[in-house]
């Protein structure tokens, strides 16, 4: 079929990140296809220079309203690595709880408020009300629990304050943790009820596949979020975490102001599906049951399944949080003071998994404890090249579909990656030439 058309999808919010989809087709042939990111320059690294080591966390926690716990933890790990601070087991356990809370918050927001409308054919979460009010209420309840969990562990829901260099400024009490466990058990039941509802519309996820590389943290002990080695589905484990730049090879492309990244192939993917593909054997059985329900098996090469991997991780985060609370209660929660640094100078690298993928903070501190150099590698930027590669394989496969469907499928692809800009894609201005 020969036809001429263009799909130009532009982001129109005042956000720092703008992502555009540009597709021009002439006589049925693709003339131009670009995932075009025009982010304004980010100066966070420059803002960190000249700041004292104990200020770095609070600044980086403001980088992102969604991933403020993840940025805090990557920042603390980098600072502690530079200053030789060894945290206690209790701190490590509480930090794992914090990272689960954020993972749950972010995943349920993406699944429930941003992707579910696509699956049920609604324009937004409001259009889901009425026919799907019960589902929306389940999502709101789960989202609220995740918020309150981060409130309890980190001191507040938005931009945490209790996470400090060497530990916590205040720990939750045993009573509070037992109460939280009770609510997590209820949340797991609710998630089990939600899974078949999502399954009933999951057929609307495109069955597209493209082999690519997946990168994330991995560990022998657990399904990694807080700690582990960098790992790739192509090249295995890379224990030298300070050499992360050998894996995350950032580069610049002319049509985008955001950095792109590659490793063994022309692109790689990070996020829930990457973690699932690397570590699915370490999921809690209840989360594995959800994966089985959706026939999700490692290695899965369908980027649209990232949302389902998020649902699986949501369930895992609940179950692992319950286990972590049991450990804390069994050992008796202590009000510990943060461990003080023994030195002030050094270079440190902190790597964690945040909802959208692997996040790196790398600081150099001088002899007075002030930051002289900083580098942050953000997950969304690591996925841009992979989105572009997906589009190049996907468009020829769907080129005979109506323009509106092509446009929706491409938008759904971008949303599947859950980039920080995905929230605005529901408000896009779309024009056909």
């Amino acid at each position: 079929m020969s036809k001429d058309f263009s799909v130009h999808v532009e982001h129109v919010t005042r956000v720092e990140g703008h992502g555009n989809i540009i597709l021009d087709v002439k006589n049925g042939k693709i003339e131009k296809l670009q995932w075009n990111v025009v982010e304004a320059p980010r100066f966070f690294e420059a803002m960190l220079r000249g700041q004292q080591y104990n200020e770095l966390r609070s600044i980086t926690s403001r980088i992102c309203g969604i991933c403020s716990i993840g940025h805090s933890l990557a920042s603390l790990k980098a600072t502690e690595d530079a200053l030789g601070v060894k945290i206690t087991n209790q701190t490590a356990t509480l930090r794992r709880l914090a990272i689960h809370a954020e993972n749950m918050q972010s995943h349920i927001l993406h699944i429930g408020y941003l992707v579910a409308p696509d699956l049920v054919g609604a324009g937004s979460v409001f259009s889901m009300l009425g026919k799907h009010t019960d589902t929306v209420l389940k999502i709101v309840k789960l989202h609220r629990l995740a918020n309150e969990m981060s409130d309890l562990i980190c001191g507040r829901t938005i931009h945490p304050i209790r996470l400090v260099v060497g530990g916590f400024s205040l720990q939750p009490t045993e009573k509070q943790l037992i109460q939280l466990k009770k609510r997590l058990l209820e949340a797991q039941e609710l998630t089990t009820e939600l899974a078949p509802i999502i399954l009933s519309v999951a057929g609307n996820l495109p069955s597209f596949t493209r082999e690519t590389e997946y990168i994330g943290l991995t560990s022998d002990e657990e399904y990694s979020f807080y700690d582990g080695d960098i790992a790739s589905t192509d090249t295995g484990r890379h224990p030298k975490y300070q050499d992360y730049k050998e894996i995350m090879q950032e580069y610049i492309v002319p049509h985008s102001t955001a950095k792109y990244a590659k490793h063994a192939r022309e692109s790689y993917m990070v996020g829930a599906l990457a973690r699932f593909n690397l570590n699915s054997r370490q999921l809690h059985p209840v989360a594995q049951d959800i994966a089985t329900l959706f026939k999700l098996k490692a290695i899965n090469y369908n980027p649209f399944m990232n949302t389902i991997a998020q649902l699986v991780e949501f369930s895992h985060s609940i179950q692992d949080s319950i286990s972590l609370i049991d450990t804390l209660v069994d050992q008796g929660i202590k009000q510990e003071k943060p461990v003080k640094p023994e030195k002030k100078a050094g270079r440190g690298v902190g790597i964690v998994e945040v909802p959208r993928g692997i996040l790196v903070h790398d600081y150099t501190l001088n002899s007075q404890g002030y930051c002289t150099k900083a580098n942050c590698i953000i997950p969304t930027n690591q996925n841009h090249a992979n989105i572009q590669q997906d589009m190049e394989k996907l468009v020829p496969e769907i080129i005979n579909q109506p323009e509106k469907e092509i446009e929706l499928t491409l938008e759904m692809l971008v949303r599947a990656y859950d980039p920080c800009i995905s929230c605005s894609t529901h408000y896009l201005d779309v024009s056909f030439k």
Binding site: F44, M47, L109, L137, V140, T157
Partner: protein, 158 residues
Amino acid sequence: MKKKIAVIGLGNPLRRDDAIGLLLLQYLQQNKKKLSKTIDFIDGGTSGMKLLHLLGDYDTVLLLDAVDFKGSPGEIKKFTVDEIKNQKIQVFLSTHEPDFLTVYALLKELDKAPTHLVIFGVQPKDISHGTRLSQELNRFLPILQKQILEEIQLMIES
């Protein structure tokens, strides 16, 4: 049962004038003895959907935020949600999440919206990346602090 009043400051301290809501909130917290009723002060930062639950917990919510209403830098304006809808002014909570009206509309649909919601918007000059206010807002800050304290005192007493 719903709690009474929350003052919520919004904004990003890494984007210059966007921090104005947070700076005004800090001032009110420091002067809370001058406010007669029990008020919860909340740093809402740049979080959009997380506010869904916070807003729903209160009868009255006063939001402090940088709002581009095409005024002069440092000008302060009081809005209700209806006024915002009519004037099509976008009030952003975050650089990454849905705008405020989206969050509010969902709350309304779920019958959880606060009975009274007032937004105090301050016209920003510069919301580029950086940690310092623009000269204009920095100059007006002491006046804005006094003004917001008086406005809230009046609202609470009435």
